[in-house]
């Protein structure tokens, strides 16, 4: 239900042209307004509080579609922020996460490469275990200059922002932020896989569609395996629950597995496409650029493998299969 609604909205309003325009600095106002009107911000709020009453798995399916449409706005983080911060109202507009805030020696707050930093109006960040609401307007912003990237580093004065009444440790918000990127990655990978399949069926070389060549078939088969693995890992995270959020270890697996797959999926899609795939005017790059950026965002597989490794060390008395089972239990 939620997925159908967002799919149709994104199909109409979040077109590849719209995404390109916003990436290049165009105003997201029209797209933004369409999403705000639709009420998705309150997707996770209970129905009796005027929300969508959606479950975390519903949320995952919605975010996957945001990924598949390369939505240039932090809809997922905005929805999730409202689920995390229940005790007080959050401002309108787009909210993104910065769960690894660094407090500098001079007291200023630094958030490196904040996803959607260029299109968000507020940041929910964690400085240690203290949750803060930080207006982007108050920050010094440094765009990274990567073509089309919406991430930006932000720096605030020592007294910036307001404390939030959130009692979760930073790791929990880190896990949630990572799970969101896992869902975005899964959605983008499905889209990339579709594009590669479509191209393999259409494009002819040596007198037949390239999808008839065994080498291409094997590449697409392996790609399908990794897209499927990533999708199920991302989805499974939202079927776990710990204090109202997806469980930490499950988020870790979701982000680790999707990030590892992202590299293979992006490179295979480009290998299937050949040179056309790296052109700006062909849509593939809208999604593969994100696969690379989102792989790094909120911790690459290296970060999350280390986090899971710490769990393995701590639980080194358990059967490994039991440990694997407990992740998604």
């Amino acid at each position: 239900m939620f997925a159908e609604a967002i799919a149709s909205l994104l199909q109409d309003r979040c077109t590849p042209q719209a995404v390109r325009a916003i990436e290049q600095g165009g105003s997201p106002a029209a797209l933004s307004a369409a999403l705000e009107e639709s009420g998705f911000h309150e997707l996770l709020a209970p129905e009796d509080a005027g929300g969508g009453g959606a479950s975390w798995p519903d949320f995952h399916r919605v975010i996957e579609l945001c990924g598949a449409h390369a939505l240039p706005l932090p809809l997922a983080q905005t929805m999730a922020a409202r689920a995390v911060v229940r005790a007080q109202p959050l401002p309108n507009g787009w909210i993104t996460f910065a769960p690894w805030l660094v407090r500098e020696a001079d007291g200023s707050l630094r958030a490196g490469q904040v996803p959607f930093g260029r299109t968000a109006s507020h940041v929910v960040g964690m400085a240690g275990d203290v949750a803060l609401l930080l207006p982007v307007a108050d920050a010094r912003m440094e765009a990274n200059g990567v073509y089309g990237s919406l991430a930006a580093s932000l720096r605030w004065e020592p007294d910036a922002g307001t404390a939030l009444d959130v009692t979760l440790p930073a790791a929990r918000l880190q896990g949630l932020a990572a799970a969101i990127h896992a869902s975005l990655l899964s959605g983008a990978m499905k889209k990339v896989f579709d594009l590669a399949m479509g191209y393999a069926n259409e494009r002819a070389q040596f007198g037949k569609p390239i999808g008839k060549f065994q080498a291409i078939q094997h590449q697409l088969s392996v790609m399908a395996e990794h897209v499927a693995a990533a999708a199920i890992a991302a989805e499974a995270a939202y079927h776990t629950e710990d204090q109202g959020l997806p469980a930490y270890a499950a988020c870790a697996v979701a982000k680790a597995r999707t990030s590892e797959a992202a590299q293979l999926v992006a490179s295979t899609a480009h290998a299937v496409h050949g040179a056309i795939g790296v052109t700006e005017e062909y849509d593939l790059q809208l999604y593969t650029r994100r696969l690379h950026e989102w792989r790094m965002a909120d911790g690459s597989e290296t970060y999350w493998h280390r986090a899971l490794g710490a769990l393995c060390v701590q639980r080194s008395d358990a059967l490994f299969v039991d440990l694997a089972r407990e992740v998604f239990a």
Binding site: K190, F193, D194, M197, A200, N201, G211, K212, I216, Q217, H218, L220, S221, V222, A224, E225, H226, V227, A228, A229, A231, I232, A233, E235, A236, H239, A252, V253, A256, R257, E260, E301, T302, W304, H305, R306, A307, L308, G309, A310, L311, C312, V313, S316, L319, F320, V321, D322, L323, A324, R325, V327, F328
Partner: protein, 385 residues
Amino acid sequence: MAELLDRLQRAELPAAAQAFRAEVKDFIAREMPPLGADVRARSWMGFDAAFSRKLAARGWVGVTLPKAYGGAELDAFRRFVLVEELLAVGAPVAAHWIADRQSGPLINKFGSEAQKQSYLPRICRAEVFFCIGMSEPNSGSDLASIGTRAVRTERGWVLNGRKIWTTNADKCDYSIALVRTSGLPADRQAGLSQFIVDLRLPGVTVRPIVDLSGDAHFSEMFFDDVLLAGDALIGQEGQGWQQVNAELAFERSGPERLYSSVVLVDAWIRWMRRNGQIEQHAETLGRLLAHLATLRQMSIAVTAKLAAGESPLVEAALVKELGTTYEQEIPSIVEAALGASPGQPADPELLRAAAYLSHMAPTFSLRGGTREILRGMIARGLGLR
């Protein structure tokens, strides 16, 4: 989105299957023989008739077979749990494994009532053990080129030829052999039939094949004018190829495609913990955990389709290819890690487990279809063929 991927939906084990897990864990705690990691690494090559009989006594052999024949009629989720728990500890399940998973279901599906009554109850009691008889010295993955031949005579079928790569044939009672009953090898899949061959019949010779681990799990079976009764034919004459493909489908699903090397991971973790090395390999462990947790979700998704009465062949092939890659990379990863501390090499038991799996890992992608065949199945499932 490609339809194939839409078909592989996350699912979860129902509560009843979760409760069943406690029963299985309890059984294993009581009945599992005390074996070293190097022996447990053999798991479903490990023949232990006594352990199989204990499982049978508990009602857990012939898990898919009807209760009328002594079977357990476990649902797909319980079967998943049973297999998962057995393989997680490397239980020696080889004795009954083929009968339980392939031969029994085949007889149940294609056999006559008399055949069912003759074999199924004995299978479920772990009184008789079965092996496969498909590969031939010159067939490889080209099963259709089979040359072993059964000729119908007045006295019954006369069987001549040889089969190879049969697991534990020297310890089994019966083999279900795919043989030619008409035509020539050049006719390929036409004219093939399946027979239940009593391995104690005159003219049957079994030669164990020693492998690179010093084990003799594989063997070669020679048939010299073996006289088979008419009721040795299983299913329809000339339908052997179709029946075998149904049989391979049974083999291609389930958690046995994820866990072949997991005993080694546990042994390695124990050793690292004892030797203060676990921190330096934590990232590697974390990656193995992320992959296993994910593969397990995929395997449960396939199981849910089986439970729903579907035949998720392509989905199973997809999970199997990933799972086999995982099973194969574990010994390689452990080898590299053990060699990271030349001043503190692994103890012999761990080394033997690592060596066994390193040496045998190449065969993981031969069991039930090579990589090329699996990728071809996936490509077909994607509509590329």
